[in-house]
C-alpha cells in the first residue's frame, strides 16, 4: 500500500481508507456509474504528492494515481520539444535531455514532481522574472474528462479549457500527456554568486540589480532574526554555463528513514542553524552542478520527516511590488516574534510575465515562502495573521503550499474562480476545492 499523503503530512490522511485507481496509458476509463448522480464519488489525479497541502487530496472520493503514466512519447532533439505522459517526472526528463544540452524551461525547487503536477499548479522557479511559469511552455495536452471525452487542448484549440487547466489544480480532468518546449543551455553547470545582505532593503536592491543579467535569482532569509538583523540573508544568482564533463546522475544517498520527534525542531535549534548558516563563510563565486543549484533539498530523501508525525505547513504568498517593503517587513516581524519559523525561508522577486493560466498564482511582486512545524492552534493563528497582511496589501497565497486558508481569503486571492468554475469537470473535486469553495 502506498502512502497517499501530501508533502506537509497535514492534514493527515488515512491511506487505508483512501480509494485509489491506477491509471495506465490509453486504457483508462472512468467506472460506469450514474453520471447524473450528484453523490457519485469524485476523482482527482495524484502524482508525486509534492504539494504541501490538500490540493492533491480527495479523501471523500477517488485518487487517480498517475505513476504508471511514465512514458516518453516523442522527443525532437533538434527543436527541443518533448511529448510525454503526465506522470513522467522532472528527474526522468533531465536524465533524458541534459546530455543534449536541453533544460526544463521552468523548474521548482525539487525534481521529484510530475509534468501533470507542474501544469496543475502552474509551477514557477528561480527564473520567474525571466521566464514566467511552466504553463507558458506547454504547447499541447490531452485532457481526459469524466464523460470519456479525450480533448486536445492548446493555445489555439479548446483554448478556454487549456487556460483553465494551466494552474487548474487538477479540477478540469485528467491530463494524459503533455507537449512542451525545452530550453537550450551551453552545458550542465551553473555559475553562481552568493552575496550576503543585512536587511530587506539590501535584498530588494540586490534583486533589482540582478534581474537583467541573471537568469536565476533567489534568497534565503533568516526568519528568526529581529531588530537590526531583520530580513538578513543570502542572495543567490546563477546562469547556465559550459562544462567539460558529462553529468552523472546519482540517486539521493541520504534519507530520513522515519519521523523525527517534533520537539527537536524548536526555536533554539532553528535559531542556531540560521545563525551558523548566515555567518558561515560563503564562496562568492562558484561553478557548480545544476543539481545542487536547483535542487539542494533533493539531496536528502524524505526531509519532510524532520518535522515529525504532526507534519508542517508552508506559507507562500506574493505581495504586489508597490507594497513589498512594508508588507514583507510586517510579516517578518510577526514571524520573528512568534519564534515559530523554520530554516527553510525563501524570498524572491516575481516578474511581470503573464501565464495563460486562469487561476495561476504567480504575479508581479515579492514572494515569501516559509515552513512552519505544525504546533496546532498556535501555527494556524500565525498563518491567519500572515493572511491578514497579504489580504491588506492585495497579495495572494499559493494553493500548492496551502492547507488552511479561509474561503474568504481564497475568494479575494482568486477573483477568477467564478469564471474558472465553468471548466471544472463535474466529477472532479479535491479536499482543497471543498475547503475553499464550500462545495
Amino acid at each position: 500500500m502506498k502512502n497517499y499523503q501530501s508533502w506537509g503530512c497535514y492534514p493527515k490522511v488515512d491511506s487505508n481508507k483512501q480509494e485509489v485507481y491506477h491509471v495506465y496509458p490509453d486504457s483508462f476509463s472512468f467506472p460506469e456509474s450514474d453520471k447524473t448522480d450528484a453523490d457519485a464519488p469524485s476523482f482527482l489525479a495524484y502524482a508525486q504528492g509534492r504539494s504541501y497541502g490538500d490540493v492533491c487530496m480527495n479523501q471523500d472520493g477517488i485518487l487517480l494515481d498517475t505513476q504508471h503514466l511514465d512514458h516518453f512519447i516523442q522527443y525532437d532533439k533538434e527543436k527541443g520539444i518533448l511529448r510525454c505522459e503526465a506522470g513522467v517526472t522532472f528527474e526522468n526528463i533531465l536524465q533524458l535531455i541534459i546530455p543534449h544540452n536541453w533544460f526544463l524551461p521552468v523548474t521548482p525547487g525539487t525534481k521529484y514532481i510530475s509534468v501533470g503536477g507542474a501544469i496543475a499548479n502552474d509551477v514557477h522557479g528561480k527564473n520567474h522574472h525571466k521566464a514566467g511559469t511552466f504553463g507558458r511552455y506547454v504547447q499541447k495536452l490531452e485532457l481526459l474528462r469524466s464523460n470519456g471525452e479525450r480533448l486536445i487542448c492548446s493555445p489555439s484549440e479548446n483554448t478556454e479549457l487549456f487556460n483553465a487547466t494551466i494552474g487548474g489544480l487538477g479540477l478540469t480532468g485528467l491530463i494524459n500527456w503533455v507537449e512542451f518546449s525545452l530550453k537550450k543551455i551551453p552545458g550542465n553547470k551553473i555559475e553562481q554568486e552568493t552575496l550576503r545582505f543585512n536587511n530587506l532593503n539590501e535584498f530588494f536592491k540586490l534583486s533589482d540589480d540582478s534581474d537583467k543579467d541573471w537568469e536565476y535569482t533567489v534568497a534565503w532569509i533568516d526568519c528568526l532574526a529581529n531588530g537590526d538583523d531583520l530580513g538578513r540573508g543570502l542572495f543567490m544568482r546563477g546562469n547556465h554555463c559550459e562544462s567539460k564533463k558529462k553529468y552523472k546522475f546519482k540517486s539521493s544517498k541520504l534519507s530520513v528513514p522515519f519521523n523525527v520527534p517534533g520537539f527537536l525542531l524548536n526555536k533554539y535549534t532553528v535559531n542556531a542553524f540560521n545563525n551558523v548558516y548566515f555567518k558561515r563563510p560563503v564562496k562568492q563565486y562558484a561553478k557548480i552542478n545544476f543539481d545542487p543549484f536547483f535542487y539542494p533539498l533533493d539531496a536528502i530523501a524524505h526531509w519532510n520527516r524532520l518535522y515529525g508525525k504532526k507534519g508542517f505547513m508552508q506559507y507562500q504568498c506574493v505581495i504586489p511590488k508597490q507594497h513589498r517593503e512594508t508588507a514583507i517587513h510586517e510579516m517578518l516581524s510577526i514571524i520573528s516574534a512568534s519564534g515559530q519559523g523554520s530554516f527553510l525561508s525563501v524570498l524572491k522577486e516575481f516578474g511581470d510575465i503573464k501565464s495563460p493560466g486562469l487561476l495561476s498564482f504567480p504575479r508581479q511582486g515579492t514572494t515569501l515562502a516559509l515552513d512552519f512545524p505544525n504546533r496546532g492552534k498556535k501555527t494556524l493563528e500565525l498563518l491567519d495573521n500572515l493572511d491578514a497582511i497579504t489580504l491588506k496589501y492585495n497579495g495572494s497565497v499559493y494553493p500548492a503550499k496551502d492547507a488552511r486558508m479561509s474561503p474568504q481569503a481564497f475568494a479575494q486571492y482568486y477573483p477568477n474562480w467564478n469564471e474558472f468554475e465553468k471548466y471544472i469537470d463535474p466529477h472532479f473535486s479535491s479536499d482543497f476545492k471543498r475547503r475553499v469553495s464550500g462545495k
Binding site: M1, Y24, I73, Y75, L96
Partner: protein
Amino acid sequence: MSNILILGATSAIAKQTTRLFAADEHNLYLVARNEEKLSSIKQDMLVRGATDVHYESLDIADDKQHEDLIQRATEAMGSIDTVLIAYGTLGDQKQCEENYKNTLDELQTNCLSVISLLTLLANQLEQQKSGTIAVISSPSGDRGRQSNYIYGTAKGALTIFLQGLRNRLAKSKVHVVTIKPGFVDTPMTRDFKKGLLWVGPEVISEGIYKAIKKKKETVYLPFFWRYIMLIIKLIPEKLFKHLSL
C-alpha cells in the same frame, strides 16, 4: 549494439531494465499480453535511444506458441544476443491449496513455460556460441513457506534448472544469470503493506543491468537478501515448520 528479447516486457521491473538497455542503443523485441502498454513502452524506448523496437502481444504461458515466437524475434532482429525473462504471476496460494488446477496454472506460467522457452533459446544460443540468458527467479524458491510455497516451488525449480543450464552452456560461452529480487514495489505487490525492506523497480533494474554486463551467475537484489535468505535457510526445519512465514 546487440539484439535483446524481453519476455514480460510490461512488467515494472522489466520496463525499467529495458530503459537502461534502450539508452545503449540496442534493438529490442518486446513480448507481453497487454498491447496498449506495449505500444507506449515502444515509443518510450525509441525516445530513450533504442535503435529499433518490435513488439507483439502474446500469452507466453502457452508453450505451443514458443517456436514461432522465437523464430519471429530472430527474424525481426537478425539474431538474439540477450534474453530477459521477466513475466510471472504471484498467484493465489489459498486457491492453489483448494484446487490443483490452480497450482498447475501457476506452475505452467512461472516455471514450465519458462523451461519450454529456455529449451529452445538454449539450443539457439549454444549453436551461436554467444549470448546471455537472464531470468528473474525469486528468493521464495530458496525455502518453502506456508504463505506462498506454490510460487516458491515454481521459482525454486526454475533456479535449479538455470543452474544446470549454466553448467551446460559454460563451454559454449553462453552466460546464464539467475536474478532473485527481494520485496519490490510493483503492480504484482500492489496490495502488500510496504516497509523498510521494500525498493522500487528502478533499484532492481540497475542490479539486473550490472549483473548482465558483469556476467554474474546469481544475484540477490538488493544484495542484502543473500544474507537474509542465508539466515532463513539456516533455521532448523524442526523450528521452521512452526513459524508463520
